[in-house]
Point group: C2
Chain length 255, copies 2
């Protein structure tokens, strides 16, 4: 199965200091690979919040969990130890990572502190997700049907892990297709009846209109995409739905 | 009490098509008013997902819940009816809103459809949050100790409601203060010990470093802010912590 959930960890997200663009990047990647994201959560650097989120994912039979944030050297970066604790996994110092962190500190002219060493403490038996853009490694943890990809919160580091590790771990399921149609000069209400018809005809696709405003001009972005990635005809149904919209609203469609 | 939670509703958030900037805007507003945001959630336009989130907020003794999205005229906009259903509230057509929607459609040269009328169906007894920038009104629902502000997903409309309605409903608690210090030429690890000291000295404040990269240059953004808005000395403690950092790392601080 292909149910995914994304958890952003960090107080900065909850005080409105940082926009959670990480989740959007991960969700877009997963969606295009044919996976289903059921929920995105942002929580504080707090053991109870983290453990509750992990237990909730297990209870909800999530297959793949993606966390970002809380892997740095400071006292409040507690993601790795919190995940290990709630799952009952032993932590161990990875000496190979210690060496890498030391070399990195030397190269950058920083001292290697005990605080830095914290980044090398990982759950025993997990696979390491190399960090091509920063210090803290990620972890690929498999636990009782749940696979957790633990990543840093720095966007460039997370993106590097998606590109160079996770994209190889999660093959494209070939169950995804989307059409985006831009419609001008007609209100959302004017589209509603057609959308309703299409939605009741094809149960495995999703069609949704988003009103947008740019430079004083209103337009509608119509999304049609595979919703049920288990259906064999969903890709075809997206194409059929797009044809219906083109036929009915052709003169309003922006190419 | 002042525990808040933010729920973004809309498939577009879960497929990575839209970044949830709404949550960041609301969280920043709440934080500055002295309120505590414990969690941000994004879920699909799905009754079970919405009702689970509402019930979870009740279970967790959240005081203020903010939802965005799912108030439009299309078939999948089910936020208002889902909230009403899970709380057992009766829905009714608000004739005043119907008149406003009709006038709005006429002014824009659109037809007023049954689909549009859906936006005037609101929980009986709720207060209406006027929409100064769009069609769908919001709702201010008080239910058994939980207050829910239901808002549209279009950012300009949501922001209008925060500014013109919610900011008057949630007074500034005067329990908030923050310092943001930018530090260059020193690694996150070099700050870790001082941060740890400050954090153990002042339990009511929060201090966190964020490594950032701009134009090939690394720097640290250090946040110090009130964490426990119930403590009377927290504001003072933020100021004291900032003084400690200035004394120790003065030459690295960017003014």
């Amino acid at each position: 199965m292909n149910v995914c959930r994304i958890i952003g960890i960090g107080n900065e997200l909850l005080i409105g200091d940082v926009v959670n663009t990480n989740a959007t990047h991960i969700a877009k990647f997963l969606n295009k690979q044919g996976y289903f994201v059921d929920k995105i959560i942002c929580i504080r650097d707090d053991y109870k919040a983290i453990s509750d989120a992990i237990l909730e994912a297990k209870k909800d039979h999530v297959n793949y969990l993606f966390t970002t944030g809380g892997l740095g050297p400071t006292y409040d970066d507690i993601t790795m130890e919190s995940i290990a604790k709630v799952l009952g996994l032993e932590l161990e110092v990875n000496e190979e990572i210690v060496l890498k962190l030391k070399a990195r500190a030397v190269a950058r002219g920083h001292a290697f502190s005990e605080a830095s060493k914290k980044m090398a403490i990982l759950p025993k038996g997990c696979d390491i997700i190399p960090n091509g853009k920063g210090a803290a490694p990620g972890a690929d943890i498999k636990y009782d049907g749940l696979r957790i990809f633990v990543m840093p919160g720095v966007p460039t580091e997370m993106k590097d892990m998606i590109k160079n590790y996770i994209s190889h771990s999660l093959p494209n399921l070939g169950r995804y297709y989307q059409k985006k149609i831009i419609i001008e000069g007609i209100g959302e209400s004017g589209l509603a009846q057609s959308i309703k018809e299409i939605a009741s005809k094809y149960k495995d696709i999703y069609i949704k209109s988003h009103p947008r405003l740019r430079r004083g001009k209103y337009y509608i972005v119509l999304h049609i995409y595979v919703y049920d990635t288990l259906s064999e005809k969903a890709v075809e149904h997206v194409k059929e739905a797009a044809k219906i919209i083109s036929t009915r609203f052709g003169q309003h469609i922006q190419s």
